[in-house]
Symmetry: C2
Subunit: 292 residues, 2 copies
Amino acid sequence: MAVDVGGTHLRIAMVDSGGTILAQSKERVGAEREPRKFFADLAASIRKRAGARLSELAGIGLGLPGICDQKKGIVHQLPHYPEWQDIPAAAWMREEFVCPILLDNDANMAAAGEHWMGAARGLKNFWMLTLGTGIGGGLFLNGELWRGESGFAGEVGHMTVVVNGRLCPCGKRGCWEMYAASHAASTAASGGATIEEWARAADKGDKAAQKFWREYGSYLGEGIANLALITDVEHYILGGGISNAASHFLKEALTSIRKKVYTKLAERMVVHPSTLKENSNLLGCALSVFKL
Amino acid sequence: MAVDVGGTHLRIAMVDSGGTILAQSKERVGAEREPRKFFADLAASIRKRAGARLSELAGIGLGLPGICDQKKGIVHQLPHYPEWQDIPAAAWMREEFVCPILLDNDANMAAAGEHWMGAARGLKNFWMLTLGTGIGGGLFLNGELWRGESGFAGEVGHMTVVVNGRLCPCGKRGCWEMYAASHAASTAASGGATIEEWARAADKGDKAAQKFWREYGSYLGEGIANLALITDVEHYILGGGISNAASHFLKEALTSIRKKVYTKLAERMVVHPSTLKENSNLLGCALSVFKL
């Protein structure tokens, strides 16, 4: 059973060991975010979805949008759930189920999913970037996820690209995700339009919207160029809801990358949208179970 | 024989397999930068330093300030020697010597040297940052240098920290090394003072100089925070000439890091000057030979 915990929605899917999604559901996350209650509700939802097949479950994998300790099964911080601090989520879930419980940052899960069944199949090294409310990063090096020394690697959304720039909800200034995630729409020039509205307007040929996306692409490229200069990884896979608007910003992102990266590296770089789309996270969650 | 090719100086040292520097010399790099002639002169210098012990040499290791293909022994680009492009330096040196010839980026060599004999002994993961004319980066992951897919990893000096910021000699804007390497002294506020002059003035208690170094430290910290968020590596070793002024900027750098990095990660981070100082690169060059 794969569980994609988002900022506003929760998706639960039953996935077989061949990577086929047998059934899935999507529900709004209610106002109830008290963590103990949240996981009790989640356990009830999983039971309901599993039905008679509960005893067949090989395990439950959870992808969460924040800082997780994958080894200990602890959720340290979730920006969308500020009241959560060091939640022993895996231990709580183990009180409800006999099968193994695994959890990890959603961008790591998405990277693993793309490596298993998507655009990163066969790649030894790549960056998975999830473009949504923020920017998540999952990094594969030598065929494996690089989680870093404390499990925090890939927190690329809070890399500074403009010292003393726009104020991020995290309290710092100039974070990449203020320019290249849905926060990009939170400027005065956006006049209250959301990133989804900018996408729809650009689809209809709106000039202001196309300009918005060119600027978005330029900032996206600046950050990807930084990742390339630092890690020298050649493949970048774009996931998350905003990647659906790639036709409006990808060209500008590539131009921006070519301006910032050594020609020899830029020539080898490949940046493209995820092939699994919103399912990469779910498939990574499933894989975390089947890999045990 | 270890050769540290700098922007203005060349250092040649004979090092034994225990990491002891037996003899070393430093000479100015002359106006002669035509690459074929440069390496012919270098070969003559090495012969002269080796003297009667030439036949005992286990090999020659070269650390160069730029983009190198360590496997092929090619120097792709050196910012200080703009006329050099894709120089087959190892092959040229092999025409002069029978022993193995190895070359790599100087920050990678310095990282290997610190790992062998210096501040990074026993560390599996760390960043070596060389603070000089630019900022070089050498990254150890899982006990080995991570060179990236094309050998370009660690080009941290050209990471953008201020989109549309100061113009870098590389042609791009807002590169980290415009704020946290000797270029930091090239602003109007610096009034023509060099970074060495700022260091001497701060040593004497000059208030303006102390302010200069606090700003320097703040920018240094912004970039280190980015590296920590992206790679989740805990140890940062500062080498290069500017690291000698660490007492003037390290505190501010740490403050800046703590502002930008998750508390749990910041608490584990260690940032300190190299213990081998200017010899880390030479020792890395020597190690590249002894590791064969």
